[in-house]
Symmetry: C2
Subunit: 476 residues, 2 copies
Amino acid sequence: MAKEFVKDVTSMDEDFAQWYTDVVLKAELVDYSSVRGSMIIRPYGYALWENIQKALDGEIKRTGHENVYMPLFIPESLLQKEKDHVEGFAPEVAWVTQGGDEKLAERLVVRPTSEVLFAEHYKNIIHSYRDLPKLYNQWANVVRWEKTTRPFLRTTEFLWQEGHTAHATDEDAMEETLRMLNVYAYICEEFLAIPVVKGQKTEKEKFSGAKATFTIETLMHDGKALQSGTSHHFGDGFARAFGIQYSDKNGELQYVHQTSWGFTTRIIGAIIMVHGDDRGLVIPPRIAPTQVMMVPIAQHKEGVLDYAYDLKERLSSVARVGIDASDKKPGWKFNEYEMKGVPLRLEVGPKDIENGQVILARRDTGEKVTVPVDELETRIPELLEEIQSNLFNKALNHREEKTSVARNLEEFGEKLESNPGFIKAMWCEDQACEDKIKEEFSATSRCIPFEQEKVGDTCICCGKPAEKMVYWAKAY
Amino acid sequence: MAKEFVKDVTSMDEDFAQWYTDVVLKAELVDYSSVRGSMIIRPYGYALWENIQKALDGEIKRTGHENVYMPLFIPESLLQKEKDHVEGFAPEVAWVTQGGDEKLAERLVVRPTSEVLFAEHYKNIIHSYRDLPKLYNQWANVVRWEKTTRPFLRTTEFLWQEGHTAHATDEDAMEETLRMLNVYAYICEEFLAIPVVKGQKTEKEKFSGAKATFTIETLMHDGKALQSGTSHHFGDGFARAFGIQYSDKNGELQYVHQTSWGFTTRIIGAIIMVHGDDRGLVIPPRIAPTQVMMVPIAQHKEGVLDYAYDLKERLSSVARVGIDASDKKPGWKFNEYEMKGVPLRLEVGPKDIENGQVILARRDTGEKVTVPVDELETRIPELLEEIQSNLFNKALNHREEKTSVARNLEEFGEKLESNPGFIKAMWCEDQACEDKIKEEFSATSRCIPFEQEKVGDTCICCGKPAEKMVYWAKAY
Ligand SMILES: [Zn+2]
Ligand SMILES: [Zn+2]
């Protein structure tokens, strides 16, 4: 029966990877294309992205940033100006070598990220301390030549926003880096109902060219971690490479201090893998393209559709309401909008109309309640909020259940096996230990969390004294 | 004096092209980059684009379309599927030939437009008449390898929306084509205060692969025309090339009928060249990033800034209000926001505060009025509407003054010289005549307008009987 209901979606526990692929396709988030490693984002997936964009863009503007647009192409020589940066990115970029009939004298990179373009522009427009800070952001597509790809999680092209800022001092840049990390955490927790662990990346895992990288890490249903947003402090590395200087109040030339921070369509993968279940997607109400889907019952009976459309009109002032008045069976519609993760289903038929009531079914719990029509304007927003916080709490409980402590490598391997998820363990800050853990267990350091707990005194790998507690996990 | 005021902007009448370049740079709409033919869209330019996007996206959704996102790259073999289309675009595309370390087996085109990607997707998702119409749109960047470029008007990369739809019948597709042309006309006239001429392109000027192309044509201050939005009827050409078929109500296979339509950042060039003057930009209020710029007078005096900030807060409920409280002189600020084309300037100083009034200065007419503070909530929206319609009327008068009739080639050349602008003239529909006019006068057929007037009986070129009146002009 389950099979029939969920239209051939593989069970999560049977094969999580296959479940993921089934869901993104059946829920019509994406389609494949003939373009290697690239996906088509379909209307439902794109509407979800638009809602995320709207929330995040609001926060980016509220915190004083301005949107701009930089070129898609980067001349090879420009990319090479910052040595660590080019080493990190050159192996995974797409190269344009011909324009029209003309073989290019200099190859162009399709931007994998835009640090160098912003650096060049900042050099042009920053002259005095009065020009600082510069707080810019852009919404754009970027390309990284990935060998293996999966919808949303890893694709050759993806959509994102990348913030790039320039400041007078290192402290200002640090404050900005953390401010934007907190914006990402806020969007994840408040809009996407996904709890995050905030912390710093190790030297090994930081961004190419950064002085320090900060991250929010989230835990998926299968116990794997997903890096969900990063914010980088560059110090004056790019400023020195590009010569971005300003004259301070004393007329002395100083280098600027920069940051960058990015949030991508990858987060849609997190929404799927944190909240989804064997019936399909579960979309948090605050970003759901449709919050309430109306399914008329016995819609061929006189008056039902008229009543339903009037009700939809009325309820549109309190929620994003859809209606499926197609000639498909109610059962088919129930399954369809469960698959699409619509938070609430509203059923209304002739008997409901007679009784002045409707049925509301929650996607998260499956619970059904009968509600008088004149209470809908208050009950729907209440229920949507309940669903939103229930999803967050479920995800938080899940993460807590899936977070273990390990005091030595043996325990580490055991926990990773018996309860896949985050493992909190002490680390001596030597990269050799980090490398060894990665090699042995395919688990990576996710971050050195801001909220430190002393879960031991010694490095789980080498046994030397250790000050830092690290979150480790297998990761997407 | 003029020179000093406008910070070295060339006069329009002296050198219109230089005036344009000066204005886009001085008003900080764009900056150049080291990427050939590409521009950086700066915060003020991008905010303008965001406002245009918001208005247009609203109309696109209101008319039932859904946003999607297609890949940036197109495999060479896919582009080649529709012969007319590839012939039109292949000479002006950028080619990706290498990804990471790997030389690609098949070259990829950076999309110049996405017809073939939508066609491939439609083939996958359209099966039955129930799947029609498909009404998709995407906001994206596209690349065309232009030899000479100018900010907004012609750049290697530009931003746009491209709508792509599929319909059951040729009539449905035609209706859609004209519906979206009307949406573009509405956006231009109601939001951008730019009057348009609606009509059909000749065979020579139509889009590669289209059965018919419709256009809105606008006239710039210098008398040159700008194609400002196009809508294409493809018939079943792409459907046949890609095999996009649906089974109709009788179970018989039919080809779909398609359209596409696009509106680009180029329109910002039209805003500049239609409304601008020797003091810089003039932005229509409905799309102005800042509608009212407050300039405090004697702001060092106690209470002035506090008062100004309170007023800004209050007025933010009726308009987009900015304030410049920097330590620059009021005169500098006046020039700066005139250059940026802010529709209204609000001056408030100690004496105004005492008298319970402020001064409002209109950017379009230069007129200054003293307004009691408690009337601002009504006066500001009124003035913004007056400015909006004044700009439209000025542009319309200008276009009418610059529109002539020619009855033969001699008159044509004479009018083009003495009163550069649109020339209405009869045409026999033979491409040879169109070619000859282009060669002789560098003027092209802009469109066969929907509103036909019989300004003669014979073709101005060959003297044969002619049924069609055509708008001709030199064009950007
Ligand atoms: Zn160690
Ligand atoms: Zn002729």
